[in-house]
Symmetry: C2
Subunit: 334 residues, 2 copies
DNA sequence: TTGAAAGCGCTAACAC
DNA sequence: GTGTTAGCGCTTTCAA
């Protein structure tokens, strides 16, 4: 692999000094018209490209944002990523992505590879394992190193940094009210993600709405998708239930299936709402009414918070941006 | 943002020279036991992290792979990305991602930001617009700059670089044969992606299988999803058709809907196969039989080809890896 | 065993 | 208008 051409090479070729070349290429007014043109021609003909690494070393800024997401196969995260990439590009930044795959260890390693100068700042959503074991030392390290960090969706209260979340509490609250208002009496909350912050907030929103209307709370917390049927069966058999609010979209679709297999007609006998407005919801039959979190917006907000901090001189208070949800009404609710 | 601690700072603190610190931290045998321990302690207590940019400048290698994908919201690409990230991590590389969003311009810009030393090599799938306008100058530039590049899925024959593709021809050939073998007589090929290489290869595979069995070829090439119904209607009304092979999964699901609305029972009256084994296929009703491309494998292969080239001294012939497809049988075929 | 010095490619203050 | 020089943080050869 032949070495790339450098400023020095160009200087030799043009018979001038390195700094003259540098200035000429950067359109410095110090340099004379003909010299500049000549140098630019030479650079062009030799396919000169400035070395970005050297520039970063000099400028102490990389114009790169490090992103750590727990799982790219979850559509929600790829949508957020889309928003992040769009906004980063708009603001002149590139993104580097690491996947934690919900593992604490991988999250720690990703942080380590980011805080050595390779990125100007970090955007991340906390891995499930980290939310369970509550070992936040890598985040404290990031703060200590003064690397700006923005957490989105799955955030940690005790870490002081900018945050972008969905109003999960309010989303669940609104969805529960929606169900009550269309006449449902017995709303069950199916929480497949009771382990993570997001799931807990949704649960609280549900509980709050139910209690406000003096309804009885009924929560199921299966630990895995394959436990959903087992948990739901006794409810369908022995209790009256006319609505299910599920903490994600996939469990909502599974709940629809179980309901149907037990003779329920959707939405006549039972109404179902899920969280996350993804492909599955759209293409399920019947199509699923969901609480949309506006994943792209979350990504954009996160970038915008981070870049704000990067480019403002003074270090201001941390900001917690809350993105509002809304209900996308489809055919799984009356 | 307080400046990070450097080797120089540590040298001052320890009262030794910079190079001693460097060697001590890198466990050089040149350095004495006690000095090394002392220096490491100081480094530890001051939270020293070596600056990766400076290292890259010195070593001329970043251990970063640049990835350009046309669209992250297409599940296929996020699966490939998953494979890329896994394999890259395993081999000690990070990935930087740019999205071309199918735009030629953005693809060119992404290439530009990569070939300035920020990455060791590039993995990409060509944007639709580039495949249409056939302007490949940015790829030639990459070759000229000796930046190793691997193209996957959507590749360009005339560019000499490593490639990883799915055997699209064979996939369509096998799927068509599958339909013929279960007794279908009139198989229609619905090609929503006739603009891109992948779509053309699938079409050829279909044609080849049909001709081999002396069946009449019937191809539809809608330019957008919203034209599918219009294109299919006359076929359903006026011709006999008992099978549809669609070039992606979404058009297959739409075709199922149109078929059903026209009184066809699936799979009794008509069998349908799509390409891409994604969420939609799995959750469609009936679930969709598909040709799976093993997206993750494609990603892994691409990384492995690239790293091979990066780490081997000699520059060998370019390699075109072909990942085999297989048919995932579900309920949309008899 | 430790240190001095050069250099990776670039920028910019300062001199000429 | 052009060149000299120092320096970003690190590694590494060579000298002490």
């Amino acid at each position: 692999m032949q070495p790339k051409i450098t400023l020095k090479d160009l200087a030799n070729l043009a018979g001038v000094s390195i700094s003259t070349v540098s200035k000429a290429l950067n359109d410095s007014p110090e340099i004379g018209e003909k010299t500049r043109v000549k140098i630019k021609e030479i650079a062009e003909s030799y396919n000169y490209v400035p070395n970005n690494i050297a520039r970063s070393l000099k400028s102490k800024s990389t114009k790169i944002i490090g992103v750590i997401i727990p799982a790219i196969l979850l559509e929600f995260f790829s949508k957020v990523l889309y928003g992040i990439e769009m906004e980063a590009t708009r603001l002149g930044y590139k993104i580097v992505i690491c996947l934690s795959n919900e593992s604490h260890q991988k999250e720690v390693e990703s942080i380590d590879t980011f805080i050595n100068g390779s990125v100007d700042g970090i955007i991340l959503s906390v891995a499930e394992e980290t939310q369970k074991n509550k070992d936040y030392s890598h985040f404290y390290k990031t703060l200590k190193y003064n690397v700006p960090m923005v957490m989105f969706d799955r955030v940690i209260d005790e870490i002081t940094c900018d945050k972008v979340t969905v109003d999960d509490f309010e989303g669940a609250f609104k969805a529960t009210n929606f169900l009550l208002e269309i006449g449902c009496e017995n709303v069950v909350f199916l929480n497949i993600i009771s382990n993570i912050s997001v799931g807990q907030l949704r649960e609280q929103g549900y509980v709050s709405a139910m209690q406000k209307s003096d309804k009885e709370v009924k929560i199921l917390t299966p630990q895995h998708y394959n436990e959903i049927e087992k948990e739901l069966l006794p409810v369908f058999k022995n209790e009256k239930v006319d609505a299910i609010l599920a903490a994600d979209e996939y469990s909502a679709v599974l709940a629809m299936n179980v309901a149907r297999m037990n003779g329920y007609d959707i939405p006549k006998d039972i109404s179902i709402i899920g969280f996350t407005n993804g492909l599955i919801s759209e293409h399920a039959i019947p199509s699923l009414t969901v609480v949309s979190q506006h994943a792209e917006n979350i990504g954009k907000q996160a970038v915008s918070s981070l870049v704000n901090r990067l480019e403002s001189e003074t270090s201001t208070e941390t900001i917690h941006t809350v993105v509002k949800t809304n209900i996308v009404e489809r055919n799984s609710t009356r």
